[in-house]
Subunit: 521 residues, 2 copies
C-alpha cells in the first residue's frame, strides 16, 4: 500500500491524533498510526501488543509530518523529470514544439530547458540524454535555491538546537558520517539537529575523517574561543561525533562498503580515528586541549542509533552503547515522563555494565544530557520510518540522482540525494570516483542516460582570492575526471558541471558556466 | 683566478686581518680582502676609491669564512661524485673491482655503492647512470645526517637570533621566498637568520604562498600564544616575510621565471599576496588579529636586498625601500658606529620619502629595529659574495643536483641545491614538475644521466597516522610522476625516491625503501 492510500484509509478510521498538547490544530498534526495486526511491519522497534499503536509519547509527530512534506517536495523535483521528458519527447514533431516544451518544463519542473536543444530537435531528434542531465542539475539547483523556504517547514522544531548544545557544554559540534548516500539526511532526520553555523558536517568514506583537516577546523574555533569570540566559550568544548553505519537486515551486503560490510571493523575504525584526533591535539597543544568525542552507529534500514557512552575520561568503547530501537520498543506504551525515566535508567545501566563505571567512571553531566536528548530525538526518526516509510526503507541500496565530487554541499540534507566522493584532486580520490562511475553505469549508462557529475568546492568570501582558487581547483578536477573516463565522455555519457559555494552564504552552489571558467571570472 | 689561488696570493701579501676585535686567532679569522685596482670586480656594492678595500666595519668576516667552509664542505659532497665514478669505471675490468670500488667510494664519498651494481658489472658493463643517481641521493643524505655538525660551524654567530626577533616583538617569523634554487640559502646566508623552530620557511614559485595554508600556520601559533604556550607571547605578533627576486645584471632573463622576469609583476604580486593574508585573517578573526608583514626583494646576482618599509599601519609599498647594496657602498669606509647611524638615517629618509610618513606614519619601533638589523646582517652576505664568489655568482642560472617534489627539506639551506616543485599531487603541480624535467633534460639527460627526483613530505610524530598518510602521499606522487614521463622511465632516465621527515625531528629526510612502501611500514 502506498503512503497516500494508507493515509487515506487511516484518516477514514479516525486514528489521527494531534501530537503537541495544546497546539493549534494543523493540517499536518496528524499521523498515520499503526495498530498491531493492522499492518505487519518489519521493524525491530515496532514490536507491540494487541491494541497498541506505534505512537511514542516522546515523538514529535508534527515534526515528522513536516519532514515528510519536505522529503516529498524535494524528491518530487527529481521524480517528475522522466515523465515530463517523455511527454516532451512525444511532442517533438509538433509545429510549436519548442514553446510547448518550455511551457511544460516551466509548469511541471519550474525551470526552462536549453532553447538550442529544442530548436535543433528537427535535425536528428531531441537529445534526451542532454535534457535529462540538464534537468537533474537544474532540479538540484532549485533545491539549493529553495533551501531556506524548504527548511522553514521544520527548522524551528528541531530538538537539538545550538542553545541546547551550548547548555550541554559544546560551542561546536563537528559530525562526520560515512559518505554513503544513506547517511545524507543525518542531521535533520536521524539526529533532529538543527543545521547551523556551529554544526560542521563533513562526510568521509567509512567515516574515516582527515585528522589533519579536523585539527584545522578545531583550531579555527579554538582561536575564536580563546580570543573571546564565542559567548560562554570559556567553559565550553568542541565535540567531534563520528557516525558509522550498518544494516540490521542485510549485515553482510548493505553495511559500510568502505569497511566491506564488516561492522566490527566499521565501529573500531571510527573509534580509533576519534582517539587519534584527541591524541593529536593533546600532543600538539597540551593535555586538556582535546575535544570531547562521541561514537554513534546508524542502522540504515530503520534509522535507529547505537549511542556509545563515553567514560569519565571521555573515552568511548565499541561495545558499551544504548540502542534506540530497543529504547523505543521498551517505552512505546509509556507516558513521556515514564519513558524518559526508563531511557535514563537504561543509559546509566549501560554505563555501569560489567563494572565499567567503577573502573572508568561515568560520562560528564553535559555529555549525559546530550546523549539522553539524542536518544529521545531519534525516537521521532524511528517512528518517521515506521509511519512515513512503511517500517523500513524500501530501497536499501543505491538510488542517487548524481555524483558530487569535491566537497559536499550542505543545503539539501536527505537520504540518497547523491553519491559523494570527497576529494581535492582525482589523483587522490580516483578510487571513490571509480566506485561512483560504476554505480551510475548501472543506474544511468545502461539505460542510455549520461552520468551527471557535479564538481563542487567551498571558498571563503572573507579570504581574498579564495573563490578564484576554488574555481581553479574545480576546473582541474573536472578536467581530470573527463580525462579518466574518455570512452564515456566520447559517447556523451558523462557530463561534468562545476559549482562553488561561499562558506558565508554569499553564493550557494552557484553553477559556474564555461565562459566564466575560461575568463577566470 | 680561483679562490684558492687568490687566497694564497693575498696571504703572501699580508692582507689578512682578524675581524673580531679581541677574538683569539683562528685559522678562518682572515679574509681575502680586495684592494681597488687589484681586482676589478663587477659588484654595485663594491665601488671604492684608491687604497680602499671592500671591508665593511659591520661585516662579520669570521662568519663569512665559516659559511664559506660550510659551503665548500656541502658542495664537495656532490662535486667529487663524477671524478670518483670515472675512477671506478676505469677499474671495472680489474679482478678485485668490487672491493676496490667500494673502498674508493667509502674513502672519497663517505658511503658504499650498491653491491649488486658492482657485482653485475662483468655482464654488460657498469651501470654508471644508476651509480650516479645513487650517489646524488646518498650525498644529499650525508648532508642531511650531518646537518647539526655542519651548522655548528656558524649557527651561534647568526645575527638574527630567536631572542632578537622576540625583542623586536615577533614570536614567529614565517618566510616565503620564491622556490627558485637561487633563494635556497636565504636564511643563513642572505638574512643571517638562525634556522629555528620559530622560523618557518616555505618556498613557493614566484613567492606566491598559499593564503589558506598560511592561515593554518598562523592559527597554530595563535592557539599556542592565546593559551599561554609562548613565553612573552601576549605582547608579540607573527611576522610574515615574502621574498621576491630579480637580477640586476640580466633583469629580463635571470629574474623570476614565474613572473616571466617581470620585476614589477614580481614585487606587486608579492605585496598583494601579503595584503591578502592580512585581510583574510582580519576578516575571519577580527581587526587587530592580522600578522605584521615585510616585503623583501633579493638581487640574486649579488645577494643584496631591497627592504620595503612598512608604514604605521603595517602596509608595505612596492616603491618605498632601502637597497642594501647602496647602503654597503655608502658606508664601506666608515666606522661601525658611523655606518649604523648612516643606515638608520637612510631608512628614516626612505620612510619620509615624498611625504609618506606624514600621511601614513612610520613603522612601529620593533619593525624598525628588525629592518635595521636585517640591513646590517645582509652587508655580511654582500661582502661574502664579493670575497668568496669573486664579486658575483658565476652561475647565474640553473645548476641544481636533483629535483625535490612535495615539501622542501630544510636541513641544507644553500643556493641551487635542488630544483623544487611544491605540490601535494602531480595533478596540481604538473606545470612545476614539467619545468624541472625540462631543466634536467639539459643538465642530465643530454649527458646520458638520469634525472634524480626526490619525493619528500613532512609529517608530525605528534599526530597518530600522520607518517602513514605522508608515506601514502609520497607513493601516490611518485607513481604519478612516473606515469607522466613514461619515455624517460622506460630508458631509466628518471629515478624517483621517496623520503619522509618528522616536523619534530625523530626522522630527518629518511629514505623510504620500496619494501617499507609496499608493506605500509
Amino acid at each position: 500500500m502506498n503512503t497516500l492510500k494508507r493515509r487515506t484509509a487511516l484518516q477514514a478510521s479516525g486514528a489521527y491524533l494531534p501530537t503537541q498538547e495544546g497546539s493549534a490544530p494543523h493540517l499536518h498534526a496528524v499521523r498515520p498510526a499503526l495498530h498491531a495486526g493492522e499492518h505487519a511491519i518489519d521493524n525491530p522497534a515496532c514490536v507491540i501488543g494487541p491494541g497498541q499503536r506505534c505512537e511514542h509519547a516522546l515523538v514529535d509527530s508534527e515534526l515528522n509530518c513536516r519532514l515528510s512534506d519536505y522529503e516529498r517536495i524535494v524528491r518530487g523535483r527529481f521524480s517528475g523529470i522522466v515523465d515530463v521528458l517523455k511527454e516532451i519527447s512525444a511532442l517533438q514533431h509538433e509545429r510549436d514544439f519548442a514553446e510547448r516544451a518550455q511551457r511544460l518544463a516551466q509548469e511541471r519542473l519550474g525551470y526552462a530547458l536549453p532553447q538550442q536543444l529544442l530548436d535543433d530537435a528537427w535535425v536528428s531528434g531531441l537529445d534526451m540524454k542532454a535534457l535529462h542531465t540538464h534537468c537533474i542539475f537544474q532540479s538540484f539547483k532549485v533545491c539549493v535555491d529553495r533551501t531556506d523556504a524548504d527548511q522553514s517547514l521544520w527548522l524551528n522544531r528541531m530538538a537539538l538546537t545550538p542553545e541546547f548544545l551550548a547548555a550541554c557544554g559544546y560551542h561546536t559540534v563537528d559530525v562526520t558520517p560515512c559518505a554513503d548516500g544513506r547517511l545524507q539526511g543525518l542531521l535533520p532526520f536521524v539526529f533532529r539537529m538543527a543545521p547551523n553555523r556551529n554544526v560542521y558536517l563533513k562526510a568521509y568514506a567509512g567515516a574515516m575523517f582527515d585528522v589533519e583537516a579536523d585539527m584545522v577546523d578545531w583550531g579555527h574555533r579554538e582561536i575564536e574561543r580563546l580570543s573571546g569570540g564565542i559567548p560562554g566559550g570559556e567553559s565550553q568544548n568542541y565535540l567531534k561525533i563520528a557516525v558509522y553505519h550498518f544494516s540490521s537486515s542485510h549485515s553482510h551486503e548493505q553495511g559500510c562498503a568502505f569497511h566491506a560490510s564488516n561492522d566490527k571493523q566499521a565501529v573500531e575504525s571510527a573509534k580509533q580515528r576519534l582517539d587519534e584526533l584527541r591524541i593529536a591535539i593533546e600532543r600538539t597543544y597540551g593535555v586538556g586541549a582535546a575535544p570531547d568525542i562521541l561514537l554513534v552507529g546508524l542502522d540504515t534500514d530503520v534509522d535507529a542509533l547505537r549511542i556509545h557512552l563515553p567514560d569519565a575520561d571521555g573515552d568511548v568503547n565499541p561495545y558499551r552503547y544504548v540502542d534506540t530501537a530497543e529504547l523505543y520498543r521498551e517505552t512505546v506504551g509509556l507516558t513521556a515522563q515514564a519513558a524518559r525515566a526508563h531511557i535514563a535508567q537504561r543509559v546509566d545501566e549501560a554505563q555501569n555494565m560489567d563494572g565499567w563505571a567503577q573502573g572508568r567512571g561515568v560520562m560528564i553531566p553535559g555529555m549525559r544530557q546530550l546523549v539522553l536528548a539524542l536518544a529521545e530525538a531519534n525516537l521521532s526518526q524511528i517512528e518517521y520510518v515506521i509511519h512515513h516509510h512503511q517500517g523500513r526503507y524500501t530501497v536499501l541500496g543505491h538510488d542517487e540522482e548524481f555524483i558530487c565530487a569535491g566537497e559536499a554541499t550542505q543545503y539539501v540534507q536527505m537520504r540518497n540525494k547523491y553519491y559523494f566522493a570527497h576529494l581535492d584532486t582525482v589523483e587522490e580520490g580516483a578510487a571513490d570516483v571509480d566506485v561512483g562511475i560504476k554505480i551510475f553505469t548501472g543506474l544511468n549508462v545502461r539505460h542510455g542516460l549520461s552520468v551527471p557529475v557535479l564538481v563542487h568546492f567551498y571558498y571563503s568570501s572573507r579570504v581574498p582570492g579564495s573563490r578564484e582558487r576554488a574555481l581553479n581547483r574545480a576546473k582541474q578536477v573536472k578536467a581530470a575526471i573527463e580525462a579518466r573516463y574518455p570512452a564515456l565522455v566520447a559517447r556523451e555519457l558523462l557530463t561534468c558541471r562545476m559549482a562553488l559555494s561561499d562558506r558565508f552564504d554569499t553564493e550557494r552552489c552557484v553553477f559556474v558556466d564555461e565562459a566564466e571558467a575560461d575568463s577566470g571570472h
